[in-house]
């Protein structure tokens, strides 16, 4: 076990996701405590004091986001759990939705109480089938138990929840794109200002939090901000769920206490790379974070500050391990195909830039690379950075320039020799 466990703290069984077992684990205790003893301001204070950071990718402090919402400004407020988990390599929220949906619901109730929210939403990815069914069942159970609806647990607090299924667009996982989609429009992200906490869903103050960020709230209320801060490192309190995939012996979702040594996690908890190969690089948190080479991560700990120092981020916790012998040109081609396909096409640099990146890489992989292609890839990445409405264009640029920075020689080789240095290999094949 990589450190303490806050969310994955129970053995998964066929019934462990249901309400009775959740209650048996002490579930909805935090809700009772909140409604019985705490004022909404206390909840916000507690969450702010815990230093909980957003788990969706940007690591923005949850408490600071909540503080923007004025409790009694006379407007309706909305809370949305962002379950549109689409970042390639990320499948951690899926674990929560499948195996512990009630912790999300309980936390959302607490958050709704704190933010004066009457209606909250879960925007769930359309491709999620079992997670959706588990969540929908959990909502039904919760309504039947009087946890949602009018007058929750006799406290006078009312809250309703809507589970909304997306249609599978990556960009609808961006908070404002999600809101556009939830409003029934095309999932185009919106320009800031105004911030969503000022004008979000239906032009009202709206808090959009990641499923995992919200799921920590119940624990924080139960155990207090200080206990939460005692977990992890001072700058990265708590734990994180990592979904580990790629060339690794035991892929899956792991809860890791922040500050845990990275290589130890990969070697001991995840079983290392097949056939004992060396790690060529690791995508730390979804493909939108910059890759780190095996050498880079040797002495790193899994914490936000270590990753920032190394020039990357923990992102969404979608860790992809890439073993020695993988063709980075082919890998980047796959990534760019993804961004090209998922670009919403709203703003110019991303609409054309992602396609341009993709076409150049297609050409390089096909053996038609040109001498100025690498320079061009950098050019497109540079002018996508900070010029787009949402982060998709930037992310495509980061992914591209991140891999180019570290593995430029492979691209030069591929352009010069018209073939990949590693045979275009993406698999970790068993050597006979």
């Amino acid at each position: 076990m990589p450190g303490r466990q806050l969310i994955m703290s129970f053995p998964v069984t066929a019934t462990s996701h249901a309400l009775p077992e959740y209650r048996a684990r002490g579930g909805y205790g935090a809700l009772a405590k909140t409604l019985g003893q705490l004022k909404p301001q206390d909840v916000v204070k507690e969450v702010t004091a815990s230093g909980l950071q957003g788990r969706g990718g940007a690591a923005f402090a949850v408490g600071r986001k909540w503080q923007v919402v004025q409790y009694d400004d006379g407007q309706p407020h909305y809370l949305i759990a962002n379950a549109d988990e689409g970042e390639p390599g990320t499948f951690k929220d899926r674990w929560i939705l499948e195996n512990n949906p009630h912790v999300l619901l309980e936390s959302m109730l607490i958050a709704s109480y704190a933010l004066n929210v009457r209606n909250c939403f879960v925007y769930i990815r359309g491709e999620f089938d079992l997670p959706y069914r588990r969540l929908a069942d959990a909502v039904e159970e919760a309504y039947a138990a009087g946890l949602f609806g009018r007058n929750v647990l006799g406290s006078g607090f009312s809250c309703d929840i809507v589970v909304y299924r997306g249609a599978g667009a990556y960009v609808a996982g961006e908070a404002s794109g999600l809101i556009s989609s939830l409003e029934g429009k095309k999932g185009y992200p919106r320009n800031r200002p105004p911030r969503l906490t000022v004008k979000g869903l239906y032009q009202r103050p709206t808090v959009v939090n990641n499923v995992e960020s919200l799921s920590n709230i119940a624990w924080i209320i139960n155990n207090g901000a200080d206990a939460f801060k005692a977990v992890g490192t001072p700058k990265s309190p708590g734990t994180r769920l990592f979904s580990v995939s790629g060339h690794i012996n035991r892929p899956g979702v792991y809860e890791v206490e922040l500050g845990y040594p990275w290589m130890k996690f990969l070697d001991e908890d995840c079983g290392g790379v097949p056939q004992g190969r060396a790690i060529k690089c690791v995508v730390p948190g979804g493909v939108s974070s910059k890759v780190l080479t095996g050498a880079d991560i040797t002495n790193l700990k899994l914490s936000h500050e270590d990753l920032w120092d190394a020039g990357s981020t923990l992102g969404s916790g979608g860790m992809i391990v890439i073993a020695e012998g993988t063709c980075m040109v082919a890998l980047l081609q796959v990534l760019m195909r993804f961004y090209h396909h998922e670009s919403c096409g709203q703003c110019t640099p991303c609409r054309h830039g992602t396609g341009w990146l993709h076409r150049i890489l297609d050409r390089i992989v096909a053996g038609d690379g040109r001498a100025d292609d690498i320079e061009r890839l950098y050019y497109i990445s540079k002018f996508n950075d900070g010029t787009t409405i949402c982060g998709l264009g930037d992310a495509a640029g980061y992914a591209c320039s991140g891999i180019l920075d570290k593995f430029r020689d492979e691209f030069e080789y591929c352009i010069e020799h018209k073939r990949s240095k590693f045979g275009g290999n993406l698999e970790c094949l068993r050597s006979s």
Binding site: G345, G355, I389
Partner: protein, 476 residues
Amino acid sequence: MPEIFINGQAIEARDDQTVMEVAREHGHFIPYFCWHPRLSVVGNCRMCLVEVEGRGLDIACNMPVAKGMQVFTNSEEVQAHRKAILQFITLNHPVDCGICDKAGECTLQDYHYEYSGQRSLSHDEKVRSTKFYNLSNRILLDNERCILCLRCTRFTHEVSKSMALGVERRGDISNIRPVEDRPLSEDPYSDNIVDICPVGALLSRQFLHKSRVWFLQPTPSVCPGCARGCTVQVWHRKPEWKLKALDPRQNENIARVTPLDNPAVNGPWICNKGRDLAQVFERARADEPMLKGRPVTVPAALDEARRLIGAARHPVALVSNWGSNEELETFKDKLGEVFHCFVKQDWQAQPGERIEDDLLIRGDKNPNTTRARELFGHAEPDFKDGTDLVLVWGEGFDFARLPPQARIIFLNSYLQPENGHADVFLPVSIQTERHGHYTNFEGTISAFEPCFEKKPGVQHAEDLIRALATPARGHP
């Protein structure tokens, strides 16, 4: 009143303004494609990126002013990004200016020369898309030229409210498409999207491949289609480009009609009917005076008319509400005492036409009813017993309603069967051949200018009225 600095110039801005608005007001031009003063901000073209000290680059159109902010609209960083944005925009754009109607007034073309001038950096094939997509019976769409600024979709959602356009698919294969059950052809304002399209993606079928825009010149005019009196520009061939090789009619055609931005009346919009003025003004014209269908000279016709007026005991005049303020005032001044005057409705709503709405279109389909009624009252034409002379000015009156015994003086511009039935017929000029003013239903007065020369046999109504008011003289 926050004070901001644009390129070092201190400017007092209003709290609710964006940097784009402040910059435009004070003469700092920031290039843009998607922004439009009358539409909501979408900020998707990214052309208006400016640099703010301490905050880096952001788009000016969505940037609220903040006290003390230092904005630079032309720094090196901004210039480099503009150049790159133009690279992106032209990446899949066909650059077929040679066959594009917009060439010469295209924002993309202008900006390319102004801010980039760079060849494409791409070596790959462009993304292909549909060309000449049939958007409605009036508009064609070239998806390859489209830069997805969404001005057209926003126009149909926010201004004309037909909600007829949307975006289909995503990424670089996004396409503007009509919504299935809301046809654009039912939007009476649809042609405005052709004007606001910054590139040549939306094409007017009327104007398609008719003329290069630099052969044309605009003349300010007023749309006579309804009582709104929208100010328009009538585009016709420049005198220096009148070529003998062309069919001479082409030199005197209305090539197209576009709105003339006028906040007091119509803003930057007009309706589709206003675009079709050629259908009104280019009908067959009457160019010879006639006495009972027999062609005569102008003086002869005038003499006969004066004789009839002098002899009449109970003359009635039906005054045109297509007459300009000047003509109506002259009529009142010179002949108002002679005739018993009524205002005639020259034009009625056509079948299938939108009668009235909240945006521009008015139920009264004539331009100057307001001034005509101010001068001649609201009464409906009424022929009391003994009406022995009727002066009919303008078209649209059924001669069967005239008293059978009355003699008729008819002033009309078009070739119509009634012309020959009148005792005296005098051809008059039309709006595109004279100066004048109309007063719209709100009392706003707008001027129109002549575009073309009138034919020799045709007289301006104002001159005819003056001539009719002078005493009769003997036959030469």
